[in-house]
């Protein structure tokens, strides 16, 4: 670390020019001392910007300082992960010796540019180092990223995909506003678990994701790849929130991304996940935000988006419908006979020449062809290339091309309520009742996330996702009993029609009170699953029917475990004031 003057003096006689180098090294020492002193006086190692740049926090269990970054290559000091102070000193030292390189052979000055920029401003550093010529890799990367502003991208959940249920967030870096924009080719920054190539064989996927078995990294890719992945293949709506981070703040964040390039973070599904990491990035760009501190326990993507809105970071919102929703919106504009034609057209493009079709006004023809094309492409998602279907798709595009000028004004459907305006994740509810002439007041707490009869604004119809729902009853005779504990409850009622023949299902497990003939307060452990279908024959009315199977356990039961099969039918009515549900269940013990 320190360049001792001694070897220099011993060579003094032989190599006179070294005298000057040695003289320089003596004052280097002075500079080092004074810089470190200033840093100490200013308490830089405890300032928010430094803590955020290195992802430090005080671990809740021990109270000790520790960085979220799980990668020794990130830290300059061997104790950097546990000491912001030591990391700061080590950083200052390498900056004062700009020729120094890390073990991978990179110049520290090329790698840690965000740190340098901040320390330069705080300590009035002025160490010449020509980044233009010395940092080729960084320059190529940075000019390709071309940072100007940041957009928070929020792919919401898709009703039939349990893995998407909590949503996901990522960032998109947009070019400076003075330049032309094309979102599809801007770069998306995504934090996710590196699940490795053998993921399919890994039975403990979900468990590992929850328990931190995967390393997490930031990866970068063109935004069109993400649109294809989420909007098309996974059928998820995407909301884009353009943030008001300045160009300087955006540039600083991007400099930091280069610092953490290839660095491993622990990935924990619940708390140290994609959304939490993005909060940290926002805090790096603007430390006064402190958005990452709003999530000490769990980071649900929806809540992180809400915080960003509440922190007044959002300039504008844009809705990008999923393939399914885009098609549904198109179909809504068609009459029933036109819908039939659309479906037929996807199967047989010779219908384009049919008199029944040609007699329609040009703009109706155009709508039908467009809907048919999109639906045909939707059918091919997740499948290998099909020659026949490709041929039909091409024919439809050719027809679209020919009819292009007779379109009339396309109708832009009104976007749904954005998810940040939806209800919050936790809910309390209470009930009044009587069990065997014993009155009670019941209190329920649901930490996450959304129920069938919750306000539907900003959420999907027919979806329920609940975790750790707990209910307690306070009885007249002063007894307090837990009457319900849902480990999880997931319901997916997806309306089925000729275009989207989807199935509905539900699954839940937990502890529940049993209605029994005796006055004893009986509870059982259960696991429950059901499959069936739902239809929306009239707008805002969802009817559903499911076949169910259930296993119950109670030590007092004659055979301990009971298996029941049954049927469930229900109806949901969506109104502005709320959602009404009627459900009938019938179960038979086998």
């Amino acid at each position: 670390m320190f360049r001792l003057p001694l070897p220099c003096f011993s060579l003094f006689v032989l190599l006179l020019p070294l005298v000057f180098l040695c003289a320089a090294s003596a004052s280097d020492l002075q500079l080092q001392e004074s810089t470190l002193n200033t840093a100490r006086k200013l308490n830089l190692s405890n300032q928010d910007q430094w803590l955020y740049l290195n992802h430090y926090r005080n671990k809740p269990t021990t109270g000790k300082q520790e960085s979220y970054i799980d990668d020794p290559e990130f830290f300059i000091s061997p104790e950097g992960k546990y000491s912001s102070d030591k990391e700061l000193s080590a950083t200052i030292n390498v900056f004062l010796n700009p020729e120094s390189k890390n073990p991978k052979g990179e110049y520290y000055r090329c790698r840690y540019q965000a740190r340098y920029q901040w320390l330069k401003q705080k300590l009035n550093l002025d160490i010449p180092f020509d980044i233009e010529t010395r940092c080729a890799l960084f320059n190529q990367w940075y000019s390709a990223i071309n940072p100007g502003s940041v957009t928070l991208i929020y792919p919401t959940s898709y009703i039939n995909s349990p893995s998407s249920m909590f949503g996901h967030t990522l960032l998109r870096i947009d070019p400076p506003s003075s330049q032309q924009q094309a979102d599809l080719i801007s770069w998306a920054i995504n934090f996710g678990a590196d699940v490795g190539a053998n993921s399919e064989q890994d039975l403990f996927y979900a468990y590992k994701g929850l328990a931190g078995g995967y390393p997490g990294q930031f990866v970068i890719m063109p935004y069109h790849k993400k649109v294809k992945e989420y909007s098309k293949i996974e059928n998820r709506d995407i909301w884009e929130y353009r943030l008001n981070l300045s160009q300087k703040e955006t540039e600083f964040m991007v400099l930091h991304l280069w610092e953490i390039n290839n660095s491993n973070f622990d990935y924990y599904y619940l708390d140290e996940n994609c959304s939490f990491r993005l909060m940290e990035l926002l805090d790096v760009a603007r430390p006064s935000l402190h958005v990452s501190r709003a999530f000490p326990i769990i980071a649900i993507p929806n809540d992180t988006v809400r915080i960003v809105v509440e922190s007044k970071l959002v300039k504008s919102k844009k809705y990008r419908p999923s393939s399914v929703n885009a098609i549904k919106k198109k179909l809504e504009q068609l009459e029933n006979n036109e819908k039939r034609l659309t479906l037929q057209l996807t199967k047989d493009t010779s219908l384009l020449e049919d008199d029944n079709f040609k007699v329609l006004p040009a703009d109706r023809q155009h709508l039908i062809i467009e809907a048919a094309y999109q639906h045909l492409r939707y059918q091919q998602l997740g499948k290998d290339r099909d020659r026949n279907s490709a041929q039909r798709s091409w024919k439809l595009l050719s027809a679209l091309n020919k009819s292009g000028n007779d379109r009339g004004t396309p109708i832009t459907p009104k976007p749904p309520v954005s998810p940040d305006l939806g209800h919050r994740s936790s809910a309390f509810s209470f009930s009044l009742g009587q069990v065997h002439e014993n009155n009670f007041i019941g209190l329920k707490f649901r930490p996450a996330y959304h129920g069938l009869t919750d306000s539907q604004k900003g959420f999907l119809h027919g979806a329920e996702i609940n975790f750790f729902d707990i209910g307690v009853r306070f009885f007249d005779d002063e007894k307090v009993k837990i009457d319900q504990f849902d480990l999880f409850k997931i319901i997916s009622l997806s309306p089925r029609n000729q275009f989207f023949p989807e199935w509905s299902w539900k699954v839940s497990a937990g502890l529940e009170h049993v209605a029994a003939n005796t006055s004893a307060f009986e509870r059982e452990i259960f696991i429950d699953a059901g499959g069936g279908a739902a239809v929306e024959l009239i707008d805002n009315h969802l009817s559903y029917g499911l076949f169910t199977a259930r296993a119950e356990y109670n030590s007092d039961y004659s055979e301990n475990i009971d298996i029941l099969m049954g049927v469930e039918i229900g109806h949901l009515w969506y109104q502005r004031v709320g959602v009404f549900q009627l459900e009938l269940r019938s179960q038979y013990m086998s």
């Binding site: 190529q140 390709a144 349990p162 599809l184 678990a193 996927y205 970068i220 890719m221 294809k228 992945e229």
Partner: protein, 162 residues
């Protein structure tokens, strides 16, 4: 004449930067992608998407490369990496059929069309849909070649093609 300097610079893979390291249309490249290609190989599995996972070669950390694909030859206009257009070629086809759209805008930006010529670009490509996409089996590299040819026939757009 290779105007692929930027594209070559972006290639951070260890593949040698010789003229045709991998022929256009090679198996790992997008040039051979046909219109309406299947999307099975994207590997978005149910549980992988739970942890928003990546598996290996999707993108390496935050640097990016062209997977050793040659970006020569086809890119005789524009300096950007046009290889990525093979990934949303379907959207480009759709937008050209209509004469407008986000994918078309992205293509124009990559090719380097100035704002004042955008409308012409949209119109000319729209009118020449059949030339650019003669069949369902049109490959990405042929699409870009055809666009270049069509641009040459228009006095405003010819300057972008060399």
């Amino acid at each position: 004449m290779k105007k692929t300097i930027l594209a070559a610079a972006l290639s951070l893979s260890l593949a040698p930067l010789t003229a045709f390291a991998v022929a256009p249309g090679g198996s790992s490249c997008g040039w051979g992608n046909m219109l309406f290609d299947g999307q099975k190989g994207l590997g978005i599995h149910l549980i992988a998407s739970l942890v928003n996972g990546t598996s290996g070669n999707a993108s390496f950390g935050m640097t990016f490369g062209t997977n050793g694909c040659s970006t020569d030859g086809v890119l005789t206009y524009g300096g950007e990496n046009l290889l990525q257009t093979s990934e949303f070629m379907d959207d480009i086809a759709h937008d050209i059929a209509l004469g407008e759209g986000e994918a078309l805008d992205a293509l124009a930006l990559l090719v380097g069309i100035a704002p004042e010529d955008r409308a012409t670009f949209a119109q000319v490509t729209h009118e020449n849909f059949q030339t650019i996409f003669p069949s369902a089996e049109t490959k990405a590299e042929d699409v870009l070649k055809a666009i270049g040819e069509v641009m040459k026939t228009n006095e405003k757009l010819a300057k972008y093609v060399s």
